[in-house]
Amino acid sequence: MAIDARDWAVIEQLQKGIALARRPFDYLAMSAGLSFEEFLTRMLRLKHEGVIRRMGVRLRHHRLGVQANVLTIWRVPEDDVERVGALFASVPEVSHCYTRTTYPGFPFNLYAMVHARTQAQLGKVIRRMARESGIKDHLLLRTLRELKKSTPRYWRPSE
């Protein structure tokens, strides 16, 4: 869909966050210079078109006991990527799963981020992924330190 200047006004305001007030969108609509009705209609359309992928809150998962996570990378034969990618995406503990560029000496083409409450559960999930996919060649890139974590911000592109 084409995103016009008024859509961008809605997008920019929503990124400021939704207030804990009875009518939280009134203030955002005012700041966007739009009527409340137009703001809501545009928001619904952005959601319908998938520009807004998810309307929701972002949580700090470690505060909820989801404390173990690891980036797993897998070497999957090209003609099997479709099956394994779909399989991993169906695992509830997998949040992100993408295929990515490989390099000579770095042949891992499928990346899956796995989360669990404990290291033991994490290990169990990964062993199950290996068993069910039949992919033996994989590495766990454990996090040693989180160096930066921020919410992406989007602005109307400068022409």
Partner: protein, 154 residues
């Protein structure tokens, strides 16, 4: 956290209502009142469980580009290089990981050309070998939603 908090979080992780009175809609779905939903969410924000109430956008549909990139940084330069990488507003996440390369970061930019410029600038400023670019080709899953389970937390 009690059962109502869990029901609340399970719902609003994915389905924050687009409505004049979103907290009233939430209250109706979990069997509560608008003011109780607002009070409980306020408390969850204060306790640091809710980080932010805002939508997740599809960056490609907004015309943005992104990639995962990595540097192999010698142990003694990790803090210094992390400072250089993190200073770029285009870098949204950065993790020190086991193995080689060891510093993995995600970058977003308005165009492929802008993305390339950011990677080149990081490579120049970090001065510890090439920035290796691992752009995504296919997305199978991208969600950060967790089932908080029932009263037993399982």
């Amino acid at each position: 956290m009690d059962e109502l908090d869990r029901r609340l979080l399970n719902l609003i992780q994915e389905h924050f209502p687009i409505d004049e009175r979103p907290y009233l809609q939430i209250a109706r779905q979990i069997g509560s009142t608008e003011s109780e939903v607002i009070d409980r969410m306020t408390s969850l924000v204060e306790r640091g469980i809710i980080r932010e109430i805002s939508p997740v956008f599809d960056l490609q549909k907004l015309g943005y580009c992104s990639t995962l990139a990595a540097l192999n940084v010698p142990e003694e330069r990790i803090d210094e290089v992390a400072g250089i990488v993190n200073a770029r507003p285009e870098v949204t996440h950065n993790y020190l990981r086991e193995g080689e390369p060891n510093m993995w970061f995600t970058v977003i930019a308005e165009s492929e050309a802008a993305l390339e410029r950011v990677l080149q600038a990081i490579e120049r400023d970090a001065n510890c070998g090439p920035v290796v670019d691992f752009p995504a080709q296919r997305r199978f899953a991208a969600r950060v939603v967790f089932d908080l389970g029932g009263p037993d937390g399982d």
